[in-house]
């Protein structure tokens, strides 16, 4: 069980039937059409019926009145919002604590719970009263009026632009820097292009009348050079050999699958 009365669910315009004192003025309750704003509101109204200062209210009486009302509403099968039942349960619990022999271990004590409930009712009551006093004041547009047709005062705003010489010079520098011709430099990469290989293979082939292994056409690679250069040279030389064969300038021979690829100048041209 929580130690404070629960904060309740909604403040929808209450659409159920609350209570008022019987015309006789005793504390018999009957139902009438009016709105409650939740259980705390109902409790406050019940408390006011005790016709004493809220600081001297009897919490036990208040609990009884609330439970009586809720029971009556249930008996009449009125649809009670869950908040009211939650509050009823909490109040019944509080009442039992207040009536049973004191458990010194209990924190907070039932008296504290009761006092806190009383403080809440006082605060709500104070704000209720403050609100009605506020609303009853002479209100602008209802009771007092400002001038109906003021000429209006206009202020022509004139900008004083803030900019320093440095801003201007820097601005110019920014434009110049932004528009300076851009030169793209591509980093040298370890490749032999197809064009280079084609030129080299064709030149070497011109002097080689017999079958020569393709690998003999590869450029000499410095020891320790990037191995990717060797692979690139082999690939582009192979492509160059195919290209030369296609052009009818070279003949290719390979005895085994994955065996050495040999080439020589095309014999038709050589004769």
């Amino acid at each position: 069980m929580s130690e404070a009365p629960p904060v309740l669910q909604t403040d929808d315009e209450a659409d159920w039937l609350p209570i008022a004192s019987a015309p006789g003025g005793d504390d018999a309750l009957y139902l009438e059409l009016d709105g409650w704003e939740g259980p705390l509101d109902l409790l406050l109204d019940l408390a006011r019926r005790q016709k004493v200062d809220l600081r001297r209210i009897s919490i036990l009486d208040l609990v009884d009145q609330y439970l009586v009302y809720i029971n009556r509403a249930c008996a009449l099968r009125l649809e009670l919002a869950a908040d009211y039942l939650v509050m009823a349960a909490w109040l019944a619990y509080l009442k039992s604590l207040l009536l049973l022999p004191r458990d010194p271990e209990m924190q907070p004590s039932p008296e504290e719970l009761a006092l806190r409930l009383q403080l809440r009712l006082q605060r709500l009551g104070a704000m209720r009263e403050a609100a009605s006093r506020l609303m009853a004041r002479d209100r602008l547009g209802r009771d007092v009026f400002m001038r109906g047709a003021p000429e209006g005062i206009s202020i022509d705003r004139k900008a004083r632009w803030i900019v320093g010489l440095y801003d201007v010079i820097q601005g110019y520098g920014t434009i110049k820097a932004r528009n300076a011709p851009v030169v793209h430099i591509v980093r040298e990469r370890p490749v032999i292009t197809l064009e280079a290989a084609l030129e080299r293979v064709a030149r070497l082939l011109g002097v080689a009348r017999d079958w020569v292994d393709l690998r003999a056409f590869l450029p000499r690679v410095e020891p320790g050079a990037d191995p990717r250069l060797t692979r690139s040279a082999l690939a582009s030389s192979f492509a160059a050999a195919l290209e030369l064969a296609k052009q009818g300038r070279a003949e290719l021979a390979q005895d085994d699958v994955f065996g050495p690829l040999r080439l020589r100048a095309a014999q038709a041209h050589a004769v």
């Binding site: 009365p5 904060v7 309740l8 669910q9 909604t10 403040d11 929808d12 315009e13 709105g35 704003e37 939740g38 259980p39 705390l40 509101d41 908040d83 504290e112 006092l115 806190r116 403080l119 809440r120 006082q122 605060r123 709500l124 104070a126 704000m127 209720r128 009263e129 403050a130 609100a131 009605s132 006093r133 506020l134 609303m135 004041r137 002479d138 209100r139 602008l140 547009g141 209802r142 009771d143 007092v144 009026f145 400002m146 001038r147 003021p150 000429e151 209006g152 005062i153 202020i155």
Partner: protein, 189 residues
Amino acid sequence: MTGAGDDLVRAVEATLFASETPLTPEEISRHLGGAMVRGALESLVAHYAGRGVELVERGGRWHFQTAPDLAHLLRREREEPRRLSRAGVEALAIIAYHEPVSRAEIEAIRGVQTARGTLDVLMEAGWVRIAGRREGPGRPTIYATTPAFLAHFGLTSRRDLPGIDELRAAGLLDPIDAAYAALTGETDE
């Protein structure tokens, strides 16, 4: 009235008459080239006292308005200002007396949840504004009243809120924990 002050009084009077909104002394002063306007305002308040129109200060801003006792003559043919729901009225009072206050604090006092639209209506009316966030868990938005609130309800400042001194003296504006501690710390009656 004669003397050098006259021109300034006339200028302040004309400025406030012409303005469509209440003005702070600083705004009037700026409008009049930096003149000190306090004295002129006081002189105008005295001059208009008891007339059909009066000069009032609301939340640091000044405006002319009709005398409240003539309300019965002027009220007819004018539509009522928007009717606030009971929830709206109570939320407004709680914000005014406790400001700045979070929605949870409003709900704790009212004992019910506050519908989303309730605070919106108060802000739309120009009476309530968001006053930032409270440092602490969840950093909730907090609400406070505006100068337009003071103007609408004819309050010079929040100190003029009906009964606020008594409420404060009775501890009714303190949080319940503080009130409880104060009560139990003292001798019981």
